[in-house]
């Protein structure tokens, strides 16, 4: 039943071209994948919050106000205030910017570097392949958080050093993507059309990036959505440990760190609100990524 619906959708999708193909694809996606659509909606809410933060947030997220310390949720402060009197709701809204910035840049860079390494590895094979794969094995044998901590420690942390946090999250993404891309690309490089391209005299770089890379785009896209969520989660964990974003930058992980832990009993909203924000954001990306995987490539399993 479900399989035949997939086939019909696929056929209709292949028959249409250009912008109609795009509209068809998303039309089908919304109609047949309610979970994925819910995820996309969550992502859109988050993007809107980040883009319109200045309009939505009722207060300045970094302004300290000693008159309103640790206030509970009320009509004046929707989600209460923290021990510096800063409005929690405003900090949450601005925190969406930090989360999206870190998540998007690190998963884009990580997945792209992984894509390039995976394609090179599959195309050349032999010694190049062995070398790259051994290197990826080395990176993979560290727990994710451990390698991120090591990179942060090496580059240093502090205010305004958000680029280092991004780098720390990018590094562990690379080997995971490279491995999946390599295995998809291995079957592509054996295709007759690659042989044909080579026989008309195309160079290695051209074949790899004009002919092989576009054909492993589906796993690339899927992993990018999945890692976007994971990157947001990792940023929260690093900030929570004090190794990520620094005060006074609004960051969800950071909000959980200090006050969330310390005032757990007196001011539970400080711990609940940022956690809900993190979970919803990551949940959105995970739901969307999952459905995108089913829609783009039903055979692919990333575990």
């Amino acid at each position: 039943m479900a399989a035949s619906a997939d086939v019909i959708a696929r056929k209709r999708y292949l028959e249409s071209t250009g912008s109609r193909r795009f509209v068809r694809f998303w039309g089908d996606f919304v109609r047949r994948r309610p979970l994925g659509t819910a995820g996309a909606a969550l992502i859109l809410v988050m993007i809107a919050a980040a883009a319109l933060a200045d309009v939505i947030a009722p207060y300045d997220p970094v302004k300290i106000n000693f008159a309103d310390l640790l206030q509970g949720p009320s009509s004046r402060h929707l989600l209460g205030t923290d021990p510096f009197g800063r409005d929690v709701f405003s900090r949450l809204v601005f925190g969406a910017r930090t989360a999206l910035l870190v998540g998007f840049v690190s998963s884009l860079v990580g997945c792209t570097v992984g894509l390039v390494l995976g394609v090179i590895s599959a195309y050349f094979g032999g010694r190049v392949d062995t070398l790259i794969q051994r290197l990826m094995d080395v990176l993979l044998s560290f727990p994710l958080i451990v390698i991120a901590i090591a990179v942060v420690a090496a580059l240093g942390t502090g205010q305004g050093l958000i680029g280092n946090v991004i780098a720390a999250i990018t590094v562990p993404i690379i080997p995971r993507v490279a491995r999946v891309v390599r295995s998809s690309a291995l079957s592509v490089v054996r295709m007759p059309y690659i042989e044909a391209t080579r026989s008309v005299g195309a160079g290695a770089v051209r074949i790899m990036f004009r002919h092989v890379a576009p054909n492993v785009f589906a796993p690339y896209l899927i992993m990018m959505t999945a890692f976007l969520g994971q990157a947001i989660l990792l940023e929260a964990s690093l900030s929570f440990l004090g190794l990520g974003v620094f005060e006074p930058t609004p960051s969800w992980g950071l909000m959980l760190r200090g006050a969330g832990m310390q005032f757990l009993e007196q001011a539970p909203w400080l711990a609940v609100a940022p956690g809900v924000a993190i979970s919803m954001a990551v949940f959105g990306f995970n739901l969307f990524g999952d459905s995108l995987r089913d829609a783009l490539d039903p055979r692919l399993r990333t575990g």
């Binding site: 090591a150 993190i278 575990g303």
Partner: protein, 315 residues
């Protein structure tokens, strides 16, 4: 067969050497060494600082430091912690039981909910049961486990007026107190890790249910529950076992944040402290140890695979 095993074991060496080199280089690239940190802000003359560096061997060329360290490792000696001066092995021995116990408890919890729910989701594919289970599992992947931990503490405090003990009791002294300290972190971490195995169980069971021998079993009138439990699940569990084992290897050193929330003194905390103190020998040994555990578990999984599934033959 024997050639394969020996080959795999030999291949671990370059991976571990790579890990060793990488950690070594990364840590030396970090600005500030342990001596600079110890005397930060004090007015000790430079000569004292230099002497301290000399005692710790930090004034030698990088290359010598690395070969010295490799030589020590080859003799089975992990060296002394630069920070506490105690042997690294001792420091690790104190924390390892806690980390291993937590990893075991979390894995048990994860398996106990992942396998039944994964099978249920597969059997009821595309029904509301499937949707609820999938949302539950994606939720596990989405919530930071340290936040789940915080919420659980908040919940037990407000509802039962009970908080997990602040001091860890070894299981040999008082199993009940030991369990009281570890049960919440084990659930928080186990929920997250169950999500991955649950999804794996679901997709492999779905795949196996389409196999010919399942159709044969159904055709000869075997009850559906027996088909699922005996024919499908048994064959579907192999990849699940892999996922679970690899997660277990990660859990030993990867629970940095959860340990922080529950004030547990485990391997993860030891590692973060060592990074903060620039305790080179401690970091290098720990990372190498964790990588070795991971590589060995990986290898063990492949061996178990071969044992469980006679169709797999490595050449």
């Amino acid at each position: 067969m024997r050639r394969y095993v020996v080959g795999r074991l030999l291949l671990m060496i370059p991976t571990l050497v790579g890990v060793a080199i990488l950690t070594f280089v990364i840590m030396r690239a970090v600005p500030g060494d342990i001596v600079a940190l110890q005397y930060a802000g004090s007015t000790v003359p430079q000569s004292v600082i230099d002497e301290q560096r000399h005692i710790l061997g930090l004034d030698k060329p990088m290359w010598n430091q690395f070969t010295d360290w490799m030589g020590q490792i080859a003799h089975g000696d992990l060296g002394q912690s630069l920070w506490t001066g105690h042997p690294v092995v001792e420091e690790i021995q104190i924390r390892l039981p806690l980390s291993i116990e937590l990893a075991i408890l979390a894995t048990l919890f994860a398996v106990a909910i992942a396998v039944p729910l994964g099978v249920l989701a597969a059997v009821r594919q595309d029904s509301w049961v499937d949707y609820v289970i999938r949302v539950f599992s994606i939720g596990g992947l989405s919530m930071p486990s340290f936040w789940i931990g915080l919420l659980m503490v908040l919940f037990t405090i407000t509802v039962f007026n009970w908080a997990p003990p602040l001091i860890f009791t070894p299981i040999t002294e008082d199993p009940a107190a030991n369990l009281a300290g570890l049960i919440l972190p084990a659930i928080a971490v186990g929920y997250r890790y169950s999500a991955v195995s649950m999804r794996m169980t679901r997709s492999t069971v779905l795949e196996v249910l389409r196999e010919d021998y399942v159709r044969t079993a159904r055709a000869k009138g075997v009850r559906e529950s027996v088909v699922v439990m005996r024919h499908a699940l048994r064959n579907a569990l192999l990849p699940v076992v892999t996922v679970i084992s690899l997660e277990f290897a990660f859990l030993i050193g990867g629970l940095v944040v959860t340990e922080q929330v529950f004030n547990l003194n485990g391997i993860g905390k030891l590692l973060v402290d060592a990074v903060a103190h620039r305790d080179y020998t401690m970091i290098q040994s720990l990372v190498l140890l964790l990588a070795a555990v991971f590589v060995l578990v990986n290898f063990a999984v492949d061996m178990v695979y071969m044992f469980l599934d006679p169709r797999i033959r490595y050449a």
